[in-house]
């Protein structure tokens, strides 16, 4: 079996994200834990919680992540009773989640754990620091591709993407979607000086414009629908950058396409590629309209795992999926169980 350690040995903070449920993210996580545990102390947490791993028969949470003794975990108080490790309580934070406050535990034995971590960037950063202060040598964050979730690029140095047959019955669609997502994740970072300006103004407003002459103007809106309605009034050829915090929907992107000509070569800056929710067609169109989408933090995508098994029982040919992905994506693709 392939040893994943070589891919990640240089990183201290790792995140994993899945294209869909049941694409084998937990398999990946368990494989990572297995390959790292005898070399480094792992600190494990997640961004919020998947909440999908409910046993249909008993309606109880069924944790599937199996850690080795010595692992440090950060999870919500109410999830602790689902963990069958012998637990040492290291620290109790004031960060609250719907499932109680986040507790830092050390596993004194091997066993299953149920992880539900914080949902906010600042909390995640703090919790990572706490786990590191208790001796974690490598942090693994079970992340999510969600609209409201933490920007993984801000809390981790490197990311692994899981994809698989669960995404679609059509193998071409799985390949297309995975290609698109990896492209988004690897969107180029905006110039450092612009990044600096954005970070300095981030607390002040959610989104703003930077003009060619360096002037800044706030964009005030309540939600993305509101933004897509008002955005066109701001577009002009004086604009160099538009920073938009949070999710970028097709509604917003369509504004740029419909109003092309009213601006020249705009750079739309977003937090990172996990915040972009559009399809490949729209992505191409907006590019041709003169919009370059850049990010504050580029995601360092290490490799992609592909799982040819579908929970519906209709499996792809494992070589076809893997080679199909390799053809269009420029980073390593592995099949955890197959390789």
């Amino acid at each position: 079996m392939l040893d994943l350690y070589k891919f990640i040995k240089n990183y201290k903070r790792l995140s994993i994200i899945g294209m869909e449920k049941n694409v084998g993210k937990t398999t990946l996580l368990n494989k990572l834990i297995n390959d790292i545990s005898n070399k480094k102390i792992i600190g494990l947490t997640s961004i919020g919680r998947d909440g999908e791993e409910v046993d249909v028969v008993t309606s109880t949470q069924k944790p599937k992540i199996y850690v080795r003794r010595g692992t440090i975990i950060a999870t919500a108080r109410n999830c602790i009773r689902n963990c069958d490790i012998t637990k040492e309580v290291l620290y109790s934070t004031n960060y609250n989640t719907p499932m109680g406050n986040i507790i830092i535990l050390r596993a004194l034995s091997d066993g299953y754990v149920d992880i539900a971590g914080p949902s906010y960037n600042k909390q995640m950063k703090d919790i990572i620091n706490i786990m590191e202060s208790y001796g974690s040598e490598i942090i693994i964050i079970d992340g999510a591709l969600g609209r409201k979730s933490t920007a993984i690029s801000e809390v981790s140095e490197a990311t692994i993407l899981s994809t698989g047959a669960a995404l679609s019955l059509d193998i071409q669609k799985v390949i297309e979607e995975t290609k698109k997502t990896s492209e988004f994740l690897m969107l180029k970072q905006v110039d450092d000086d612009v990044k600096k300006i954005i970070l300095e103004n981030l607390d002040d407003s959610k989104s703003f414009i930077i003009k060619n002459n360096g002037e800044k103007e706030k964009l005030n809106y309540n939600n993305t629908i509101d933004l897509s309605r008002n955005l066109k009034n701001f577009l002009s050829d004086e604009i160099a950058f538009i920073f938009i915090k949070g999710a970028i929907t097709s509604k917003i992107i369509e504004v740029f396409i419909q109003n092309r000509g009213t601006y020249k070569d705009i750079k739309v800056v977003i937090e990172d590629g996990t915040k972009l929710f559009i399809d490949s067609e729209l992505f191409k169109k907006v590019k041709m309209s003169g919009v370059d989408i850049q990010v504050i933090n580029e995601v360092n995508l290490l490799f992609i795992t592909c799982n040819p098994h579908s929970p519906l029982g209709i499996d792809f040919d494992k070589n076809e999926l893997k080679s199909g992905l390799k053809e269009v994506i420029n980073i390593p693709v592995v099949d955890i169980l197959g390789d």
């Binding site: 080795r68 003794r69 009773r81 012998t86 040492e88 309580v89 109790s92 066993g111």
Partner: protein
């Protein structure tokens, strides 16, 4: 009866003032939200409180590092009163709860040792020794602020965990799925044993802690008191408060008293603030004086300091002597009552009704700001005069500000805002002529000091102010004639 009603509190903006008191622990915060009021009969208690505060005040000045240590220690406490309560009821709590308790016990022990070094200063804040509780939660004497169900609690647990470890070591290297399933089943059985044994241990721990719970509860109380007391001392230091004298006489003396809120506002815009000095005795005292002369501010200042005193705070003055009173009322027109559909006057009368009922049984402090100003002046004057006469017969200390003439009688105390009395008007008028902002200039020239007045008549600063602002000459002329006619009538 409340010592002070919500209406008076909000008119004084008292909660805003109290929010400047910086407690460090959630226990201190709880104490701040439920401040004890000292009532007549508790003079000695209040004097003791002031003595405690004085000792700590002196200590803070000379022991910066030590107080820092104590404060950092207070800052670290979490609010686990509910957990302690559960334990006192004999509840078997979980591992995380035991962790929270252990951390708090360690912090309490740390603070206890810090306070023990200054037994004299913190005589009333010595914590109970809870080393025995710590021993229960730290059986290996590791002194780590972490917790798990230690194997040293039970040989059985030690054996179970050994078995668990053996099987886990097999699981991790097993390749056969079938054997793996079998091993995991076996592990599950051991888990059940581990959980059972851990519960037995937790139950045992809970019952041992229960025996000592009263000490924990007492310590929480002391920590709340200590935190609140230090916060009060620091609050006093912020605005140079002094220890007030707890008077046995029915008389209030304030020298150079401050209203923090007004002072801060004025200083922010670079204006001078005038502290007030006043002596009040049972019966009524009237404050009259110019418009814009700060009568309301004076009234607020007095009331605020009296309330602070009753809550065990130092007063913001250079000297204060105040007796313990049954109640404080601060009545001024209130937009809140207006929104309920009452006129200003209606609201005042309803409050007055309430006060007259209280007055028959208790004695306290009552302040009326411009009573009956909302009704027609002729009736208003009669009402204020009647109110002053009525209050003057009571054992409570009352104070009224008013605009009306002819209220003061010989047996009433009377203060006046000095106002524009000592001003060279021609000089000021020339200044105003060359300077557009006349209002600001008048404010600058206004003498906000209170002085005991001999004359009964309210000064005619309204006319003076009008002259200075320079109203249209036609209307000025008419106003001036009105005054002349009145003087001629007399």
């Amino acid at each position: 009866m409340n010592f002070i009603d919500n209406n008076s509190m909000s008119r004084l903006n008292f909660r805003n003032l109290i929010s400047k008191v910086e407690v460090l622990s959630p226990y201190g915060k709880e104490r701040l939200n439920n401040i004890k009021i000292y009532l007549p009969g508790e003079e000695e208690l209040l004097e003791n409180e002031f003595k405690k505060m004085e000792k700590i005040s002196n200590f803070i000045l000379e022991n910066k590092d030590e107080i820092f240590e104590i404060e950092s220690s207070l800052h670290r406490f979490k609010h686990i009163k509910n957990l302690i309560l559960l334990l006192s009821e004999g509840t078997v709590v979980d591992t995380v709860d035991l962790y929270e308790l252990k951390v708090q016990v360690i912090q309490m022990e740390f603070l206890r040792k810090s306070l023990e070094k200054f037994k004299e200063v913190f005589a009333d804040f010595q914590l109970e020794n809870i080393e025995n509780i710590l021993k229960i939660l730290d059986p290996n004497n590791e002194k780590n602020p972490t917790f798990h169900i230690y194997e040293s609690y039970s040989l059985i647990l030690k054996e179970i965990r050994k078995q668990k470890k053996d099987i886990e070591n097999k699981i991790i290297i097993e390749k056969s799925q079938e054997k793996l399933r079998y091993l995991k089943e076996e592990r599950l059985l051991i888990l059940v044993d581990e959980e059972k044994e851990e519960f037995k241990i937790r139950k045992n721990i809970a019952s041992k802690i229960r025996e000592n719970c009263d000490k924990l509860i007492k310590n929480v109380e002391i920590i709340a008191n200590l935190d609140f007391t230090i916060a009060k001392v620091k609050f006093a230091g912020l605005y140079s408060g002094v220890i007030p004298r707890v008077s046995k006489e029915n008389e209030i003396v304030l020298e150079n008293a401050l209203n923090i809120e007004v002072k801060e506002v004025l200083e922010k815009i670079g204006k001078k603030y005038t502290p007030i000095s006043i002596k009040l005795r049972k019966g009524v005292t009237l404050i009259t004086g110019a418009n814009m002369g700060g009568k309301s501010v004076a009234l607020k200042t007095i009331a605020e300091n009296i309330v602070l005193f009753h809550m065990g705070f130092f007063t913001f003055s250079t000297y204060a002597s105040i007796p313990l009173l049954d109640f404080v009322y601060f009545v001024s027109d209130d937009m809140q009552d207006l929104s309920k559909g009452l006129s200003t006057f209606g609201a005042e009368i309803i409050k007055l009704k309430e006060i007259t009922e209280v007055l028959s049984k208790f004695s306290g402090f009552i302040a009326f700001d411009e009573f009956a100003r909302g009704t027609n002046p002729k009736e208003g004057q009669k009402f204020v005069k009647a109110l002053a006469k009525y209050l003057n017969k009571k054992s409570s200390i009352s104070i009224l500000t008013t605009h009306f003439d002819g209220i003061v009688e010989d047996n009433m105390k009377h203060y006046q805002v000095v106002g524009l009395k000592n001003l060279d008007f021609d000089k000021l008028k020339n200044k105003i002529a060359s300077n557009k902002n006349s209002l600001e200039l008048i404010q600058e020239c206004m003498d906000f000091n209170l002085e005991e007045a001999k004359v009964e008549e309210v000064p005619k600063d309204a006319l003076n102010i009008t002259k200075l602002i320079g109203l249209d000459s036609e209307i000025s002329e008419i106003i001036y004639n009105e005054y002349r006619e009145e003087e001629d009538d007399e």
